[in-house]
Structures are given as structure tokens and as C-alpha cells.
């Protein structure tokens, strides 16, 4: 069987998560290799959640939150997410993992088509990068 990328997507409840709901209602298609996890706010995503996803079989992690500067429901959770993701990407690079496997995108509640596009685009990128673990075929 050919290898399919596995992507964990953390979406905030208010923007990207809502967009994912809308995408479903609109019957938009996106890659089934994505496991969406809805969290209250991207500012709530700790670096450990991202790293655990990688350690437990994810080939890529997508974080979707509210547009900066002013869309965040909790005022500045998206900036916290930006800082965490930025540092985790630097960490990934140092341990020999392509930082592109971790992507942050701002997707508002009305942008369902953008969500589908971003997900497909990211899955495609991860597919090109190949499996994260050394041995998985």
C-alpha cells in the first residue's frame, strides 16, 4: 500500500474550527489524512501537544487560528500560538526535522474554501517530504 501522510490539525474553536464546520456543511472536499482537533484557542496549544503528535505518528502538524492582529476571540491567543510555533519550528530544525512539517495558518470562520485549500496544500507538501519516521514505508 502506498504511503499516505498523516496530519494532525489543531483548529481553534472560533475561527479555523468554525471554518472546518462550514467546510463540512458546504460539502467541500479535503484530504482524509487529516485529523482535526478542535481546541478552545490556538494560544492553548502547548509545544508538548505538537511534539507529542509527531512522536505518535503524525508526519505533519497544522495549526489553524484567527487572523492577526484583531480576530482572536481571546484577544491575543493567536500571537501566543505564533511564538510557540516559531520556536518549535526552530527546535525541529535542530533535531533534523524539516520545519515545514509544522505550519501555522490564519483562517477565519468564513473562510471554509481557504481551509480546504490550506489542508490540501499542506498534505501535499508533507507528502513530498515523505514519512517523518526513518523506517515507516
Amino acid at each position: 500500500m502506498s504511503w499516505r501522510p498523516r496530519v494532525v490539525a489543531f483548529f481553534c474553536r472560533w475561527c479555523a474550527g468554525a471554518a472546518a464546520e462550514t467546510a463540512g456543511v458546504m460539502r467541500l472536499r479535503y484530504d482524509p489524512g487529516v485529523i482535526p482537533v478542535i481546541v478552545p484557542c490556538t494560544g492553548r496549544i502547548s509545544p508538548a501537544m505538537i511534539v507529542d503528535a509527531f512522536l505518535n505518528g503524525a508526519d505533519g502538524v497544522l495549526v489553524g487560528g484567527c487572523h492577526t492582529p484583531n480576530d482572536c476571540h481571546y484577544v491575543s491567543g493567536n500571537f501566543k500560538a505564533f511564538k510557540r510555533v516559531h520556536l518549535v519550528r526552530k527546535l525541529l530544525e535542530q533535531v533534523g526535522i524539516e520545519p515545514e512539517r509544522l505550519r501555522l495558518e490564519w483562517i477565519s470562520a468564513t473562510e471554509a474554501p481557504k481551509l480546504a485549500r490550506v489542508v490540501n496544500d499542506f498534505v501535499e507538501e508533507v507528502r513530498k517530504l515523505g514519512p517523518l519516521g526513518g523506517r515507516r514505508a
Partner: protein, 315 residues
């Protein structure tokens, strides 16, 4: 008399000094224990020591760097009733653990290219380096005493435990991680008066003169206090030097590097995020050139960053 042995792996000597610096308190310990082996302090051959069939307390210092370190640590641990992992090398791998960024083959290659052991045709053999590990990777100790080297607080707690063990033959729930179950910040003498810490940017130590008595983070200086277990009485912080995290994470098994990343995200430029925007924040964050070296200086070998590295290498 119970038997106490101090067995070193790859050590720098700091742990020996710390243990010896107990001074009079050490004499109290010797009322209960006979030191059957401690290369730095007691005159006894390893071969004689290995003939003993059991020891009551084993204090293991240092990391596992060569085959010999691993063999000795395993052999002695099997004979010990209470195993103490002493010092951050032994518990978390410490600074030598930073080499786990490289594969064992790369390390062997690097050593071979730098060290020439042939002398006039005769070959000396070097102890074979193994994939560097902490003592805790080999055995499950009963007491973990982190610190580089362990500070008075941890030493006092250890002494108390060992004396109680000698008197009652019992130990509390194992493993016991010494130090207080809170971060260094909890009782930091520099605690800010406000409830909100704002880090105004990231400065390196040579760029600023740290102000006495003021939170390092508030001055833009990286301080590992928030992600580090309270294993000392702020020895470094009190002499105006930020914590570098030698005590390891607050809870055994958690990850101090990731905690610190999280903390930084919560305090860096929080008052001006909407002005700095992503570009400004990235510019500040990029001043941290070495995320692994800054946040995992002492704990890389036992961290999830190391597990990611291993995953990437494919075992």
C-alpha cells in the same frame, strides 16, 4: 553498619566535591554507613569492591559514556538495595547529553578523527564510546538527586533520607525526586511586584548589565527558572546570574525545554504583540540562536526533543 558505595560514570568531579563539601554532616552519615567504595575519597581497589555481594546504598554519579561505565553501573546496581542517581548527568544526562543530537556513529567518527592513540607502532585501545545515556536510562533508581552539582537543599534532603533509611530500613514512595515540587520562580527573591511579567525583547548577557533584584525575564534575559525544579535556594540567581536549568524539569518525566518555550511565548512582548506583529515577534525570537542548547542544556538526553531525533534517525 550499612554499606555505602559511591560509583562514578563519566564525571567531571563536581559531584564528588559537592558530596565531600557536606563536611561535618557527612560525618553524621558515617555513624550509620561504612564507605566501601568512593574512588575520590576512600582508598579501595575496584576489584576488591566488586567482590562484595551487596551494598545497602549506591550513589551513582555521572553519565554513561563508555562500555565500561555501562557495565560497572549495571553490575553494581544489581547488588544495591537503594540506588541514588546523584547529579544531573546521572539523572538527565547533563551537558554531555547534548551530543545525542548526533548519531553514535558520527560521534565515533569524530573521536577517531581527532584522537590518534598509536604510539610508535603500538596501538592503545580506547574504551569504546556507547550512545551516551543517563544512569536513569539503564536502571530505575530509588532516589533522584538532580543538580549540577547538587546544591545544599538536595544534599540535606538526601542525607535525611539516607539516615532515616538506616534507622528504619524504609524509603518513601519510589522514586523520590529531591528538591521541592515547584518551579524556581515560586519562591524567587526577584519575584516581580506585578502579576504580569513582560519580557521586553531578548537580550544576551553581554548586552546588558543585569539589575540586581529584578526578574531576569523582565530585563529580557533568558532565565530557565520557570521551567526548572526548585532544587536549590537560587544559588545562581542570588549572585545575579540567570538560571540555566541544571535542576531539570519540575516533575520527573516532563520536559523543561518545551515548558520554557511555552513560558517565553506567554511573556515575550505581551504588551506590544499587536504592534510588533508576526514579523517583529519572529525577529526577537530569532535572537535565540540555539534553542536546544538554551532550553535543553542539561536535559536533552531525557527530553522529547531527543525522542524526535531518534524517531527521525529511525531508531
Amino acid at each position: 553498619m550499612l554499606r555505602l558505595a559511591v560509583v562514578p560514570g563519566a564525571v567531571c568531579g563536581g559531584c564528588d566535591v559537592a558530596l565531600a563539601s557536606l563536611g561535618e554532616k557527612l560525618a553524621k552519615l558515617l555513624e550509620y554507613y561504612e564507605v566501601v567504595y568512593w574512588p575520590t575519597a576512600v582508598d579501595r581497589k575496584l576489584s576488591e569492591f566488586l567482590k562484595l555481594d551487596s551494598v545497602d546504598v549506591l550513589i551513582h554519579m555521572g553519565g554513561i559514556s563508555t562500555e565500561e561505565d555501562a557495565r560497572l553501573a549495571r553490575e553494581v546496581s544489581a547488588k544495591a538495595r537503594v540506588k541514588v542517581s546523584f547529579g544531573t548527568c546521572s539523572v538527565y544526562g547533563d551537558i554531555p547529553g547534548l551530543n545525542s543530537i548526533y548519531s553514535p556513529a558520527e560521534i565515533r567518527e569524530s573521536i577517531a578523527s581527532q584522537v590518534d592513540v598509536r604510539v610508535e607502532g603500538d596501538a592503545l585501545s580506547l574504551p569504546q564510546p556507547v550512545n551516551y545515556a543517563a544512569y536513569t536510562d539503564l536502571v530505575e533508581p530509588d532516589i533522584l538527586a538532580p543538580g549540577c552539582p547538587p546544591d545544599d537543599k538536595v544534599l540535606d534532603q538526601l542525607l535525611e533520607l539516607l539516615i532515616r533509611y538506616a534507622e528504619t530500613g524504609k524509603l518513601e514512595a519510589r522514586p523520590v525526586l529531591l528538591g521541592d515540587p515547584e518551579s524556581l520562580c515560586s519562591r524567587c527573591p526577584r519575584n516581580p511586584k506585578t502579576t504580569k511579567i513582560v519580557m521586553p525583547g531578548i537580550r544576551r548577557l553581554y548586552e546588558v548589565r543585569p539589575e540586581e533584584g529584578r526578574c531576569f525575564l523582565e530585563q529580557g534575559i533568558l532565565c530557565m527558572g520557570p521551567a526548572t525544579r526548585a532544587i536549590c535556594d537560587h544559588s545562581c540567581i542570588k549572585v545575579n546570574y540567570p538560571c540555566t536549568g541544571c535542576g531539570g524539569p519540575v516533575e520527573y518525566g516532563s520536559d523543561s525545554g518545551l515548558s520554557m518555550i511555552s513560558t517565553l511565548a506567554s511573556v515575550l512582548l505581551v504588551d506590544s504583540e499587536k504592534v510588533a506583529l508576526e514579523r517583529g515577534l519572529a525577529r526577537e525570537l530569532d535572537k535565540i540562536r540555539d534553542v536546544v542548547g538554551s532550553f535543553y542544556r542539561y536535559t536533552l538526553r531525557k527530553s522529547s526533543a531527543y525522542r524526535l531525533r531518534v524517531l527521525r534517525r529511525g531508531g
